[in-house]
Structure formats: structure tokens, C-alpha cells
Subunit: 225 residues, 2 copies
């Protein structure tokens, strides 16, 4: 299986650069995009000043690029030091067609009552037990997470709307599972009381299906502050 | 060779729809995108009311979609009736990387003096002989065309700028050849007098290289008015 970390490691090898302890801010599911993934690795002090971005981008395949590279304090850890993450999910709202160039980046759902969707989104904000919105995978001790905000704004194309989730942490497929639920609310299949009941019951099998990976993008990871 | 017209014809066949006289507003080079290509075809009167968009989109491959379909007067011809076309060319201005999702849609040129580029663009507007900006292909009698406007505006991403060419007609690869010249001007390799001399000489071999197809998109075709 091709992974972001594995691809980066191969590019480093191809550039003749020895690094250790490479780690990312977290794994993204296959098909999920990223504009702001963060990784760290250890290099000998003497190599800290190398043009790392250039060295990596000259070796990386066309579907991956390093936007920025630079030294960080020894204590920095891409996952452990992260204080918040923002994921964006793009919905295609126009019926009848999808622009081909947007197909790998959107989920087409229409018609949607966006007011109902926004109202449902409000129910997810805050510190809550998201057990009903975690897919089976690595067992976690604690399914409580804090969503700092869920906002909706225009997308790159006028036919799109973007849901943006900022949280201190996400469970496995949590953003995609919440989107599945918000879209069900926007299609009139789920009222506010039912959303509240889903959150309270904590049972994944009762909640709507996971939204497709392609609409999701890890936009940014925050550190400190 | 796979073409837009051929792909459309296969989709019509797959949908069991017999049409005749299919024609587009013009051919786009391989690798050039289109958001606003226009085609016409003849159908028996009894079938004019079919849901053509739906029938076609259910058969078209993922990289092509019909945005709108409807009846037009018998006299309408996608190419002959066109009064103007607009092509957009996207330049990626940020050095050091290209966002992978934008790679098929941009040409990365930097650094660029955008004021110099804009000044050069002004020299192309109007009714002129564009012989120096036509690639060899089907011979044409007349190499005079009229560019109504060349404007530059922000792209989908903040690292991009978009050159938009509106003209009553384009010679083969004319937009891409003008972009090649404008980028040379933006890189300080060509002054206004040299641009004027290129236009006057009408010799393709003296002009800068053709810009890559991937940055170009046929945005719209105008009819009437």
C-alpha cells in the first residue's frame, strides 16, 4: 500500500538523504486530500541548513509536494505537539452534472436544505463523546473529543459549499461520519432530536453512512497557542 | 486518438440515441481544458424534449460532462454562429512547489514581472495579423484576428494569476503562443519594441515557444449580440 510517509521516505532515499524518526500529524484515509499535512524527522545538525524542500520536490511524484520545510525545536512532534486540526469537506450542490476537474474533490448531494444542515452542525460543536461517529479500527480508550467550530463557506466553484471542522483531535473517520449525518439532516432524513439521540446513544451502527473520502481535505494543523 | 467529439458520439450511441451532424465550436489541443465548450447536433423533432443532459452524463467517462442541453434554432451552428470565445490561461507564481491538485491546470513560471507582462498584453489587443502566433497546421487564408480584451485576475488559488483572452476568433495555438510571449516579457527577455517587431514580422520562428497546453481552458463561447 502506498502511503504519504512511505512516499516521503522513498524521496528522501532517492535524494541520498538519511533521516530518522519520520512522523506525521496523523494518518489520512485513502482518497482523502491534504493541503496542510505536517511531518517531522531528525537530521544531523550539519544538514539542517540543506534546501530540504527543493531536494524532496525534485524526487516526489506528481501527486505530492513539500510546501515548506525548516528547522523546529527538538521537542517538536508533528502529532503530539498538535493543538488543533482543520478538515474541510466539499459538497457539490448543483444537480445534473459534476465538473470533471472537481470530481475527485467533492461529494455531490442535492437537493440539500442547507439551513437544516447548519442547524445539525451546531449540535456537534463542543466537547462530546463521538463514539457513534468513529469507525472501527485501532481501539481508543477515550472517544471524547472537542470540536472547536464547524463553519460553512463558499467553495472554489460556485456550485460548491465547504464544511470546515476545527477540533483538538479527530477519531477515525470522525469528520466523514459527521458529514454523513449532516447531509442526512440536509436531506430531511434526520431531525435535531434524532441527531442528539445518535450522539447520546454512541452506537455507530445507528448513524448514517460515512461520507466518501474524496470530499475531505486536511487543511491545516495548528501548534501551540 | 480520443477526442471530445468522438467521446460524445460514443456516449450517444451507448445511450441508444441516433443523432446527425454533430459539430463543436472548434477543436482544442490535447491537454487543453474546457468549461464552456459548445456542440450542436440534429435530432428528430419527436426527441427534442428528451432529457439529453442526463442521458449523456450517464454514459460519459469521468473526465467529460454535459453542463446544459437544450433545443436551438435550426440555423444555429456551434462554430459558425459563434461571435466570440474566451480562453483562460493560469500561471502558477509561487516558487519552490506546485500544489499537486493544480499541476494539470497551471504553468509554473517565476519570478515574473506582472506589470511588464500586462504592458506586453496590451500590445496584442485589437485587430491584428497574428501570423507570428499561429502554429503550423491547416493552412488559413487570413491570419488577421481581433482580440477584444486581455485581462488578468486572481486564480482559484492565491498562488495563481489568470490571463483571460476574449477574441472573435483564434488561430491554431494562438492563445498559447501569446502566453509564451507574455511570459517572456514578464521574465525580462522581451521588451515592448521587440513584441511590436514580432507582430510586424509575422514570423512564428522568431517568437518565444508555445506555452504548455495544461494551463489553457476554453471558458466560454458567445453567440449573437
Amino acid at each position: 500500500v502506498r502511503t504519504v510517509a512511505g512516499t516521503l521516505e522513498r524521496a528522501l532515499q532517492a535524494a541520498g538523504l538519511q533521516v530518522t524518526g519520520l512522523g506525521g500529524s496523523g494518518r489520512t484515509d485513502a482518497g482523502v486530500h491534504a493541503l496542510g499535512q505536517v511531518v517531522h524527522f531528525d537530521v544531523p545538525d550539519a544538514r539542517a541548513g540543506l534546501p530540504w524542500r527543493q531536494a524532496l520536490n525534485s524526487q516526489l511524484p506528481e501527486d505530492m509536494a513539500v510546501v515548506e520545510a525548516g528547522p523546529v525545536p527538538d521537542t517538536f512532534h508533528a502529532r503530539v505537539s498538535a493543538t488543533a486540526k482543520t478538515y474541510a469537506y466539499t459538497l457539490w450542490l448543483e444537480p445534473g452534472y459534476i465538473l470533471p476537474q472537481r470530481r475527485p474533490f467533492v461529494w455531490a448531494r442535492n437537493p440539500l436544505d442547507l439551513d437544516a444542515l447548519d442547524r445539525a452542525a451546531g449540535l456537534f460543536v463542543g466537547r462530546r463523546d463521538f463514539a457513534a461517529f468513529m469507525n472501527v479500527g485501532t481501539p481508543v480508550k477515550d472517544t471524547v473529543r472537542e470540536i472547536l467550530s464547524i463553519t460553512r463557506s463558499p467553495g472554489l466553484f460556485p456550485q460548491e459549499t465547504v464544511l470546515r471542522f476545527r477540533a483538538t483531535g479527530f477519531l477515525k473517520q470522525m469528520a466523514r461520519n459527521i458529514v454523513g449525518c449532516l447531509v442526512a439532516a440536509g436531506r430531511g432524513k434526520l431531525g435535531p432530536d434524532e441527531v442528539r439521540a445518535l450522539l447520546a446513544a454512541g452506537d455507530r451502527s445507528l448513524a448514517p453512512a460515512t461520507a466518501p473520502a474524496r470530499g475531505l481535505c486536511l487543511e491545516s494543523v495548528e501548534y501551540g497557542g
